[in-house]
């Protein structure tokens, strides 16, 4: 068997590193951090536990930052960010969160991110951003370079972030912070969780109901262990995080979306609200508007290989008669689906659900079909 490659780069640690090691996690390098890929239970068990109970994920490696308007005006800070992303920030309600993308001038995706209008009193003109770990330095530099006078970016490297996901998540968190019970999907609140000051949003990356919980780094271990004290909650590593998000049909930056893909090709039109589609005024608007009108030449689709063999990222996609039409961008085994699942880009004429494809795996064509996503139904709290 081939050994995984090792890197000698010094790795950063999250505030929960010692907790992971104590739990017997297998730590691997990820985006410059030492992160738990799995705990002793293993990826399959962790995946299924999250779908059936509640999984707790350390995502403190992700970048958390505030964008702040000096004049304390939401409009000022919203306009500043709208110059960089295609989401409607202006009409965000206090505490509302949206998924969006930082776009390049050509409409390619520099990163994807979550944007929340901070609702706490005294924080008018504040937006809370969460960006990918691997992209945070580049994102912050990009945002900084494009900010108008009077708007500043404050990176919050002293914050931890964890995600509590799964059908039991709501009951578990309500036991510690009752006001989270009624929080709707993509809304957030400042709450005390067992006496710890947190910012909680009802969102996640698994397709399940759940929360992302931000707190001060020094409180992270206490909160982590408090949540794990509930028998419904188990720690979940990056391995299951990936299989959960793949079954949920969610994009992973650097794989399913990158600077070569547009939000329309990626099927993310739902994240561009009507006003922005019409008005434009974001980088790459011309391409995005053209692709909305005329259709993109290639699109991201779900794919179900017909046998048991997974097709991994990079597998070439062909028609059944061997004409190359695309490439797999994420692929693996879906424990909930109990079979291989993948996503990738294909030319638009091959993108209808049910279309027969071949995936080239180790030189051999593997029969597959375009499939609707998500592979496992979303169970968000609407």
């Amino acid at each position: 068997m081939a050994e995984p490659a090792h890197s000698d780069e010094p790795l950063l640690q999250t505030p929960l590193h010692d907790e992971h090691v104590r739990s017997g996690a297998r730590m691997v390098p990820f985006a410059g951090y030492s992160m738990p890929v799995q705990y002793p239970a293993g990826i399959l068990t962790e995946h299924n536990w999250t779908r059936e109970h509640a999984g707790l994920f350390d995502v403190s490696h992700m970048g958390q930052a505030f964008l702040v308007a000096e004049d304390k005006s939401h409009e000022t800070v919203a306009r500043a960010l709208e110059a960089l992303i295609p989401a409607d920030v202006l009409n965000l309600k206090p505490n509302q969160q949206r998924y969006s993308q930082l776009l390049a001038q050509d409409g390619g995706i520099l990163d994807d991110l979550m944007v929340t209008r901070v609702g706490a009193p005294g924080h008018e003109g504040w937006l809370y951003l969460v960006v990918n770990a691997s992209m945070k330095d580049a994102d912050y530099a990009h945002i900084q370079a494009h900010l108008p006078q009077g708007v500043s970016l404050n990176r919050k490297d002293g914050l931890a972030l964890m995600a509590l996901q799964g059908p039991s998540a709501a009951a578990v968190l309500a036991g510690l912070a009752p006001e989270t019970a009624d929080l709707p999907f993509m809304m957030s609140a400042g709450v005390q969780v067992d006496g710890i000051r947190c910012h909680v949003s009802r969102s996640g990356y698994t397709g399940e109901d759940g929360f992302e919980i931000s707190c001060q780094a020094e409180d992270a271990a206490k909160l982590w262990n408090r949540l794990l004290a509930d028998p419904e909650v188990k720690p979940i590593g990056l391995g299951a995080r990936d299989s959960l998000r793949l079954e949920a049909g969610l994009c992973l930056y650097g794989h399913d979306i990158d600077t070569t893909t547009s939000p329309i090709e990626a099927g993310l039109i739902w994240s561009i609200q009507k006003r922005r589609r019409e008005e434009g005024g974001f980088p790459g608007a011309e391409r995005v508007q053209r692709e909305i009108k005329e259709g993109a030449a290639r699109v991201r689709v779900g794919i179900r290989p017909e046998g048991r063999a997974p097709a991994r990222e990079g597998s070439i996609i062909t028609t059944p008669d061997g004409r190359e039409v695309g490439v797999v961008t994420s692929g693996g085994f879906g424990p909930t689906v109990n079979g291989p699942v993948a996503m990738g880009y294909v030319s638009r004429d091959m993108s209808a659900v049910g279309t027969d494809l071949h995936l080239i795996v180790r030189g051999k064509p593997l029969p597959a079909k375009v499939a609707a996503m998500p592979f496992a139904p979303h169970r968000y709290k609407r």
């Binding site: 081939a2 995946h47 048991r308 063999a309 085994f333």
Partner: protein, 124 residues
Amino acid sequence: MTTRYTKDHEYIRIEGDTGIVGISEYAQGQLGDVVFVELPSVGKSLSKGDEAAVVESVKAASEVYAPVSGEVVEVNSDLEASPGAVNEDPSGRGWFMKIRVKDEGELGDLMTEDQYQEFLKSIG
């Protein structure tokens, strides 16, 4: 019954002129949950070090190399339906293939059980 190991964590257990090939307990633990195994065709002739099988975990695909040269005389087709046997019982139900050993001399290049345990300590 003699079992020998490679540095890539395959084992070969010699029974007469054939050897049963699989991956070690350590290897299954490193891989994590096995979800698919691609086995060679019976009759395939392998040279030592050739890619003989592919084992897929939830995370990734890994190659399994032939510990010695020889012909594949049988494969464990039960792994199609229950690939998890590789995790549960790697030296028993989780075997991959039987090879008719071409050159017994090649076994001398492999590690004994004791040597393999020492090797694991050195990389651990």
